[in-house]
């Protein structure tokens, strides 16, 4: 048996089909979910993909968070449904208060697209169990509003509880690119909720699942194999 993983399409979602492909490549069954439809069609997990839902108007993720599908996602996430938010999906999760903090405009005020080095800080979540803690990976990053912020207390709490899942790392080697691409506080690239079923990150694992396209690496595939194993073994 395999697992059914839903991918929500909001108006302005861009990486929904890429995410479906990544799920398929991992061996699970992707299920397209529509923002106007509250019904999650018996999926075992949900991915909120990247893009500019509602054109990022008002604030990234601020409108999508009120869409019909999110009512159900929010409700079920609270009772354990695994949810992954990638980039715009992460923004939606913070707007929906499933994850703490918020995303501001990049500190250099430009869109940035590059292959980003990360360290896996927590390999115990539903979406990261196929990594090992401390593993260094490369995942493409592309966004305009990717600067993670939260108050000091929240940041301390996230760190104390091991809920920082990914941190930005300097690439090292010949290039002098700074590691933190956007001014995110404490180099945070991704976090999880206390239960570990909801994970959000700015980089795009669905663009690192085939050696031939995208970043040319497959460092993102474990996101999707992690959740598949969890669901199948459950």
């Amino acid at each position: 048996m395999t697992a059914r993983i839903g991918v929500v399409t909001f108006p302005g979602s861009l990486d929904d089909r890429d995410t479906q492909r990544a799920i398929r490549l991992a061996g699970a069954e992707p299920v397209a979910l529509w923002h106007k439809d509250k019904n999650l069609h018996q999926v075992d997990a949900v991915v909120l993909p990247g893009g500019f839902s509602y054109g990022d108007y008002l604030r990234a993720g601020a409108i999508s968070r009120f869409s019909p599908v999110m009512e159900t996602v929010i409700e079920q996430a609270k009772s354990g449904l695994p949810v992954l938010g990638i980039c715009n999906g992460f923004q939606i999760l913070t707007e929906a208060h499933l994850l703490p903090g918020a995303m501001l405009g990049n500190n250099h005020l430009h869109f940035i697209c590059r292959d980003q080095k990360l360290r896996v800080e927590n390999a115990d979540t539903a979406w990261t169990s196929d990594y090992v803690s401390g593993q260094e990976i490369h995942i493409p990053l592309k966004n305009m509003d990717g600067r993670y912020v939260a108050d000091e207390h929240t940041l301390d709490e996230l760190e104390a509880e091991g809920r920082v899942v990914f941190r930005y790392l300097a690439r090292g080697g010949a290039t002098n690119e700074p590691g933190n691409p956007n001014g995110s506080l404490r180099d945070i690239a991704g976090i999880t909720n206390a239960a570990g079923n909801v994970v959000g990150l700015m980089p795009h694992p669905e663009h690192a699942v085939e050696a031939l396209v995208g970043s040319g690496r497959t460092d993102g595939l474990p996101f999707f194999t992690s959740i598949l194993k969890k669901l199948v073994n459950a």
């Binding site: 302005g12 492909r21 500019f52 054109g55 869109f111 010949a174 396209v213």
Partner: protein
């Protein structure tokens, strides 16, 4: 306030002596008289608005038409061409039942006035052309040219243009996979913002811009129509017909990529259900263009009720509605029985859609407003029978002197130390420096099919996950070469783009072009234009790559000073299996470096002559199209058979530029030996065409040499991938660190 009565067709016939502001709308006296002759009466205000905008240079190609014909007349026989010049974009067969449509367009003038929106709506416009053919857009490319890199205005224009392209394209979910960024003082005040797009569809999904089938409905869908981008029509509306209205409206359109993304998805869904008979996007000249083109390309006539057009501003006059260039709108022709389903799909995507008219069995385009008929024309006379000019042209008097000012006679470096410092000057010069600061503002991952993106020689997209079928695109142009010899310059642009496609392993199939020139009213510019087209058409014929469409941008000049003639050529190629693509970066230490082709003393228009001597003179490199074809065949075979691991075309900046780029991208150095018969300077800096440098695994050396020998391509072993520096034996070595700092530091220092 007194309102003049509605200027209907009837009213126009009754009031022949009313003076219309045809001159303010840009029509010449004889053009206006031709309109009167066609109609047999004076035009109504709405008709005048339509004719004036459709007969403008931008829409009618009146100065360029007589020359552009050569692309058709000299078109090579090609089985690949499914739809040629004249439609929204050309369509090429790439095999396995797939068709690819692609086109390059200019958005030069708006981008100077308002860099962000000008560039953004340029992307939006070209993408709608692609959707209108029935295809899903899969990638964009952006050839850009700006004034001197250190000019203060470049710092205003460039960041705005780049942010606009990124802001729009990123939000649409289209990977940006290629293009160019060139700086030259000649583009000061006239930046060139060209935008290209590629779309993919199945053969049976090709759609055309025509309205046929009496009773079929004309549906306008997408954004509401507003007062943006009206330009000349507001003069007509405000000054003649209603003095009380404000006449100042923005002439540059404002883009909403989110709306366009919805338009893409909703249009593709309608195509999938076979709901669309004909389709046209609304770009330049808005509804005037869409209705007249759809009607004139179809079998019948068309009636349109302008009152039904959804408006953003309820005070718009009918002339303004017809002229408005509000973005993100399309016009579809749909059978009555399918209208409900079409509207349902639009509703699903929250796209406003309205039936505004229908196809009739007559041959007139009739437009109504408040119950009165304000347009009654033969649509062909609006869309296709515009004026055609045989503008005078003459080889400029200064051309001989320019060519006589031989760059080969410029002072060359006398010592190894000087050679080394000139190499550093070259790779750090704005034109040769890394453009990462710019391209990292574009998403090149989205859609998950990007195999290669800039700074690779061509951008490559996988179009079939099962078979690995892919397409490649490269855009190139060199205004300096074209200034020295426009005929050769156009051919060199084609040669380079053709070579770049082949270097990555793809077979060149077809061409689109964006022809950027000064004022056609200057005989010298017109000569450059005529020569460039003749050169490009001849070369396309010889290389077997038909021109499928493109765009002409004239009047790129300030006062008497025109830009360098800048034909930008896009070549589309196909590759059977993208797993066989060849990247630019060095892959493995120990691999052998071979130079393919012949190196001559050719420095006219070269990057070296610009960087070291600020010089432009002499002749551009010699064109040899048969050599280009042979080189391409070798590169494609070698890629298919796994003989080469990396390859880079040689063009501006010559061999040293190519080697430095491959080394920095691969983070591996190279040791080079100056071949017998060449001096180090010529070896490093010559810009002879028809060349590439390849890296070959030692195990393939024999086979590769045999292949080149058998086919008669000169090859020279020039060194090996090795170490942490680029070393020219007996001359100098530059560490990768030093080179990286020089190559990657320039653009951020100027612009960040």
């Amino acid at each position: 306030m007194s309102r003049t009565p509605l200027d209907t067709v009837e009213h126009a016939a009754e009031t022949p002596d009313v003076e219309l502001p045809w001159a303010e709308l840009g029509l010449k006296k004889d053009e206006y008289e031709k309109v009167v002759e066609i109609l047999g009466r004076r035009p109504t205000g709405a008709e005048l608005a339509m004719y004036s905008v459709m007969w403008s240079e931008h829409c009618s190609y009146k100065s360029s038409k007589v020359h552009l014909r050569q692309f058709g007349e000299k078109a090579p026989q090609s089985d690949a061409l499914l739809v040629g010049i004249g439609e929204n974009a050309g369509v090429v067969d790439v095999g396995q039942g797939y068709a690819v449509t692609f086109k390059v367009e200019s958005h030069n003038h708006p981008s100077y006035v308002e860099p962000y929106q000008g560039a953004a709506t340029g992307v939006g416009g070209i993408v709608r052309d692609i959707i209108a053919m029935g295809a899903r857009p899969v990638a964009v490319v952006d050839p850009l040219r700006f004034g001197a890199a250190d000019h203060p205005d470049t710092k205003r224009v460039l960041p705005g243009v780049v942010a606009g392209i990124g802001g729009y394209g990123n939000c649409l979910g289209l990977p940006n996979i290629g293009g160019e960024v060139v700086f030259d003082a000649c583009y000061q005040g006239n930046p060139l913002v060209n935008a290209g797009a590629i779309g993919v569809m199945r053969h049976e999904d090709i759609h055309l811009a025509k309205a046929s089938g009496t009773g079929n409905k004309v549906i306008l869908y997408g954004a509401r129509t507003g007062g943006d981008g009206i330009g000349g029509a507001s003069i007509l509306a405000s000054e003649t017909f209603d003095d009380a209205k404000p006449s100042k409206r923005p002439a540059v359109q404002v883009g909403d990529p989110f709306q366009e993304k919805l338009l893409i998805e909703c249009t593709l869904e309608a195509f999938k259900e076979k709901l669309v008979v004909g389709i046209q996007d609304l770009g330049a000249a808005g509804l005037s263009c869409a209705t007249s083109e759809l009607a004139s390309n179809g079998s019948g006539g068309m009636t349109v009720t302008l009152d039904d057009v959804p408006l953003r501003d309820s005070t718009l006059s009918p002339e303004e509605i017809l002229m408005s260039e509000s973005q993100e709108r399309m016009c579809a022709v749909v059978e009555p029985s399918k209208v409900d389903r079409f509207l349902e799909i639009c509703d699903k995507w929250d796209v406003i859609a309205t039936v505004i008219g229908e196809v009739t069995d007559g041959d007139r385009l009739e437009i109504f407003w408040h119950g009165g008929k304000i347009v009654d024309v033969d649509p062909r006379t609006v869309a296709h029978d515009g004026p055609v000019y045989e503008r005078p042209y003459a080889r400029p008097s200064w051309q001989d002197a320019l060519q006589a000012d031989d760059a080969n006679k410029l002072a060359r470096p006398g010592t190894s130390e000087e050679l080394k410092s000139q190499v550093l000057a070259l790779v750090s010069s704005p034109n040769q420096a890394s453009k990462k600061w710019i391209t990292s503002q574009y998403d090149h991952f989205v859609q998950g099919n990007t195999v290669l993106a800039q700074p690779e020689d061509s951008g490559m997209i996988r179009i079939d996950e099962e078979t690995g079928l892919g397409v490649a695109i490269a855009t190139d142009g060199n205004g300096r070469y074209a200034k020295l010899d426009p005929y050769a310059g156009a051919q060199l642009a084609l040669s380079e783009a053709y070579r770049n496609v082949a270097t990555t392993g793809a077979k060149p199939l077809a061409v689109s072009d964006c022809l950027n020139f000064g004022s056609p009213e200057d005989p010298a510019v017109m000569w450059q234009f005529a020569e460039a087209i003749r050169g490009l058409a001849d070369a396309c014929q010889q290389l077997g790559t038909p021109v499928t469409g493109g765009n002409v941008s004239l009047y790129n000049q300030t006062g008497d000073v025109a830009i360098h003639p800048t034909p930008v050529v896009a070549v589309l190629g196909v590759i059977d299996d993208v797993a066989r693509r060849t990247p630019v970066a060095f892959q493995e230490e120990g691999q052998l470096l071979y130079l393919l082709g012949e190196t001559r003393e050719e420095f006219g228009g070269s990057a070296w002559s610009q960087v070291v001597h600020d010089h432009l003179g002499g002749l551009p490199p010699k064109v040899d199209l048969e050599r280009e074809r042979l080189l391409a065949e070798i590169l494609i075979s070698a890629s298919r058979d796994g003989m080469i691991d990396s390859a880079h075309d040689l063009s501006d900046g010559g061999l040293i530029q190519a080697v430095v780029e491959s080394a920095l991208l691969g983070e591996k150095g190279a040791r080079l030996i100056v071949p017998d018969g060449l001096d180090a300077f010529t070896f490093l800096f010559s810009e002879s065409a028809g060349r590439a440098v390849v890296a070959i695994p030692r195990s393939e050396e024999l086979r590769f040499n045999d292949m080149c020998g058998a086919r008669g391509l000169p090859v020279t072993r020039i060194g090996v991938v090795d170490g942490e520096s680029v070393e020219i034996q007996g001359e100098f070595a530059l560490s990768l660190e030093e080179l990286r700092e020089a190559h990657e530091g320039t653009i951020p220092a100027l612009l960040a």
